[in-house]
Amino acid sequence: MSINEKATVSSRPNFRWRVVDIVVASVLGVAVALIFVAFNLGWSGIKAPFEAVLPGFQGLLEPVWYIGGVLGALVIRKPGAAIYVETVAALVSALVGNQWGGFSTIEAGLVQGLGAEIIFLLFAYRVWNLPVTLLAGATAGIFGAVNSIIFWSPGASWGFITVYVGAQIIGGALIAGLLVWFAVKGLAATGALNRFAVGRSLGVRV
């Protein structure tokens, strides 16, 4: 289900950022930051039942924080979009304030964005289908998991690390991958993305 099939524009992608790319990426970053802020507020309550099942199992839900990278890359389809959107989202959510402090939030945003970015880079920013999206979400999960283990639970047992990273990979593919894929499909269907390649290939002309 490649989404480039119906593309009528030239197949050679233009990697230079247009003004609309920068503005939309920035706005997506701010919008994702608002989702983060809401999620941060409820996080201690949300993770408790998961942690009770198995320590490390909360990693299944942490990929909500990685949606910015995949969303940005899928919409903008230019190099750096994943890192940019995820970092702006982290920056804004750090400015609003959260329980983890400014520096570590922004650093985590950079690392998580990088995780998604690397996969799209591997496919030379030319393949934008569901499997690549799932892979990008899962990789963001790996990067995010390793980053939080280093910063927040150094010296954790291998049992915890296995469960935590595994949960993050599955959660990353489902939340940062599948969910974001359907969100972008929904966005494209509204016609809001018509100025982007994704809107022209996924959406309906209105």
Binding site: V19, V20, I22, V23, A31, L34, L187, R195
Partner: protein, 276 residues
């Protein structure tokens, strides 16, 4: 950055813009970059410091700078005068309780709460940590309370060669935050009126919230598209450089502030090593 009208996300707070400040309130007139680059070595020193002396020096310095260089209302002065000592006391005592008891077991006991004895070593660790936090807050607030986001972006573009295409569009995006709030309210009302996901309880409310995501993003992207059309129409980004409407110069006083901060930091470092 907090306080003032409109809260932390109003980047254009008129009350602290440099041209409007009087001469006496000198912090507003400084270049935002000087107010960030000056305190950075001090922040690192505070983070690395193990004694009470270093953070205490910076708490006092920042208090003096903020009291002399910022515009104050009596109510916020009183709040700060009460809040700062209270903050240090509360955090000092709670960090005291968390201190590693084995490391401070040899120090004399100051007082006991039931079977829990508070040693002078634990008190020292606790209050050093609290003072360190207060010093970090102070160092960040000295610049944060006296600069606006747009001035920081303009200054970074003019002096640090931040690409203006990114700087100004990111700035434009921060103006979307108040819009988002308004739009969310509209979507919520529209969904309610049409009876989408009715009911009470966490499941219904989660389903309702999920339904807001796509319309909210759609609205945001549509608005972003209009903004970028307006910017394109004015040939934004057509040239490598851009004429600035507001110059944020680096003046002698900015150098004085920044180098003065570094000299003070170095002096504190030397003094801390000397008294140890």
């Amino acid at each position: 950055m907090s306080g003032g009208h409109g809260g932390a996300l109003d980047a254009y707070r008129a009350d602290i813009q440099a041209p409007l400040a009087s001469r006496r309130e000198y912090l507003y007139g400084l270049n935002p970059l000087a107010k960030i680059l000056g305190p950075i070595p001090a922040m690192i020193l505070v983070l690395l410091s193990g004694t009470m002396f270093t953070p205490l020096c910076f708490v006092i310095l920042c208090a003096v700078l903020m009291l002399t260089g910022l515009r104050w209302q009596r109510s916020s002065l009183i709040t700060l005068g009460l809040a700062l000592p209270l903050f240090i006391a509360v955090f000092g005592f709670s960090f005291t309780l968390w201190a590693d008891q084995r490391r401070v077991a040899h120090t004399p006991v100051v007082f006991e709460i039931g079977s829990f004895s508070v040693t002078s070593g634990a008190l020292e660790i606790g209050f050093t940590t609290a003072l360190r936090l207060a010093a970090l807050f102070g160092l960040a607030l000295t610049g944060g309370l006296s600069s606006t986001g747009p001035d920081l972006v303009r200054s970074s573009i003019q002096h640090l060669h931040l690409p203006y295409r990114i700087g100004y569009t990111a700035l434009a995006a921060t103006r979307f935050v108040p819009r988002f709030g308004h739009e969310l309210e509209t979507i919520r009302q529209a969904h309610r009126v049409r009876g989408m996901s009715p009911g009470r309880g966490p499941i219904a409310s989660t389903r309702r919230s999920l339904g807001y995501v796509v319309p909210l993003l759609t609205g945001a992207i549509r608005h972003a598209g209009r903004v970028s059309l307006a910017m394109d129409a004015r040939a934004f980004g057509a040239h490598d450089t851009r004429t600035e409407r507001h110059q944020i110069p680096v003046r002698t006083r900015d150098w004085v502030f920044m180098i003065g901060f570094w000299v003070f930091t170095a002096a504190v470092l030397v003094a801390a090593l000397w008294i140890r």
